[in-house]
Symmetry: C2
Subunit: 340 residues, 2 copies
């Protein structure tokens, strides 16, 4: 009998998520019922939204309950299918969980997606062609409507989403792209690898003074992955009719859905700003065209793709907290197994 | 010699604005220079934004400095003009100040506007056809894009702007219009006079429970004049892709530009909400068509106009604080003099 390893939620985290919020279990390989697809895990992706799913509220999805396997975005190979759209051997991406074998239903808000034939690593379907890349794409293109002449700021600019958001803004003709990150090493990466025009080190620079210097006429579009004091400060530097995209709130660690609200939000009124959210669910029918555009930019060398690949099922719980602390640039993925 | 009475800012208010933040003075009638228009005051309007202009920051305009006459929106009659677009006798509306005679320049962000010939009281040009009404119109039509099927909530729904916002939403075909105000009397007015479908008394009702009951499928558009805890609660009741218009923050009394930020703002992300500001300056070239649409609705009896008219120059400082406390519904105006 094949053993199905599982990382189950041991208890709902209080504050920062910790490795011992999860416990290892072994179970039988689940048996698909009508409509189910049984998938063998190949890669797990790590996303800040996983912390939101661990709150009582769950955010935009049902909360993960203690005793359940931890939900993630993942890549897998179909083992058995009771859904006519999927066949054994198919490589797929979508909502999975921290198990060797997951039962997946294809009828959720983001149906299980077939991986395209391509000459890049399949794990990129969790990064630049996954939730992070597509969120960055629709956030910049549709939410912020970045175009020529715009001065754009991106926070958490070495993250899976942030590292792409600025490059997408640049590809769409932005005049100036500024990234914010913590520490000189990350800031160097933003400029040298991701090709941003400038970087601000929020740990060592005076954020307000730097913004004044780099964006003297104000910021037209701000891609916010951080929230907190940084969002507060950005409000003071937005140009009239500027746009802010709320993509995340890394500053909070997502320990609760109720966060520090932006105290300078009346700038929305006095400068007629637009603040918008981004949730990929609402773009489900446009994903192929978004992925195609990203693919073209990657092929043209206009987008640099960075992946932080780790190995081994057992590492999942210890990797999740590293999303919220200092970590390497790019998309964090965990390699579980190879396709057969 | 004609005496020009003036209410000057005596000191920058701390917290709530008080009548003794102003002092009475008398000066000479000012002499217009090139481009100036000398206007005799007929009506002063009262607007919450006056409190913002009194902060150190000023918000979206230069702050009023101690020793200066208090700025207001007003209606006046041209006495003398060094600007070819204005002639003695003309009735005009625009930025004025608490003086019998104001020097007005017509080249600001909102040029001095000629009053149209009409069969309604000229003071309505400060209310339904003034900043409040036009802000409500562009806020509902362009900012919130209210249309058929929308469930709309308006806070401070007896105020100069709020009392019109819901009626405009209704005129544009909203499915349900809900007003929020303090006390049973105001709530009765909202339904009986302003024709809202329902009212919520935030002092006596459980706001969250009432919103669930009245908007079980969520709120599509929220016209926010209040901010604070009320905005926080509304975030929890917005339908996916809902729109919020930030028009004001009465809960703060505008004692500072830095306010209580909305702690539930991550709903912007999880529900892909759009939060937008409204500043009439950006609609300067569309004002005639906005006023024409409002005029048509008023003529058709689809908009009920309420005015709270007071009399006497000496009352200006004591009336300003009443904007932020319980007051009568509709637009507060102070009658100074009649046209000649």
């Amino acid at each position: 009998m094949t053993i199905n390893r599982q990382w189950l939620l041991a208890r709902r985290p209080q504050g920062d998520v910790r490795p011992d919020d999860f416990r290892l279990a072994e179970g039988a390989v689940p048996v698909p019922q009508d409509g189910d697809v049984l998938v063998r895990s190949l890669f797990f992706g790590f996303d800040a939204s996983q912390r939101i799913w661990l709150t009582d509220d769950g955010g935009y999805m049902p909360p993960i309950m203690p005793g359940e396997a931890m939900r993630c975005m993942g890549i897998g190979q179909v083992v058995e299918s009771r859904n006519p759209d999927y066949r054994p051997g198919d490589l797929v991406e979508g909502f999975m969980s921290w198990q060797d074998y997951c039962l997946v239903r294809a009828d959720g808000p983001m149906p299980l997606r077939h991986l395209p034939q391509a000459d890049y690593p399949i794990s990129w379907n969790l990064g630049v062609f996954g939730v992070g890349g597509l969120t960055a794409y629709f956030g910049v293109a549709d939410g912020l409507k970045v175009g020529p002449g715009d001065t754009v700021v991106v926070s958490a600019a070495t993250g899976a989403t942030g590292s792409l958001a600025g490059q997408i803004a640049r590809a769409r003709g932005a005049k100036k792209v500024i990234g914010i990150a913590g520490g000189p090493e990350k800031c160097r990466w933003i400029v040298e690898q991701a090709g941003y025009d400038a970087a601000i080190d929020y740990r060592n620079d005076d954020l307000g003074a730097k913004l004044k210097e780099l964006a003297p006429e104000g910021v037209n579009a701000y891609f916010d992955n951080v929230g907190g004091d940084m969002l507060d400060e950005l409000f003071l530097h937005m140009a009239p009719r500027g746009r802010i995209l709320i993509c995340g709130a890394m500053s909070s660690g997502y320990t609760d859905v109720k966060l520090q609200g932006p105290a300078n939000y009346m700038r929305i009124c006095t400068h007629q700003l637009t603040v918008q959210g981004i949730l990929l669910f609402f773009y489900a029918d446009q994903i192929p065209q978004g992925a195609a555009q990203l693919g073209q930019w990657v092929a043209e060398g206009r987008i640099h793709v960075e992946e932080n690949r780790q190995h081994g099922f057992e590492k999942a719980p210890e990797l999740l907290p590293t999303l919220f602390s200092g970590k390497a640039p790019g998309k964090l993925v965990l390699h579980i197994a190879d396709p057969v």
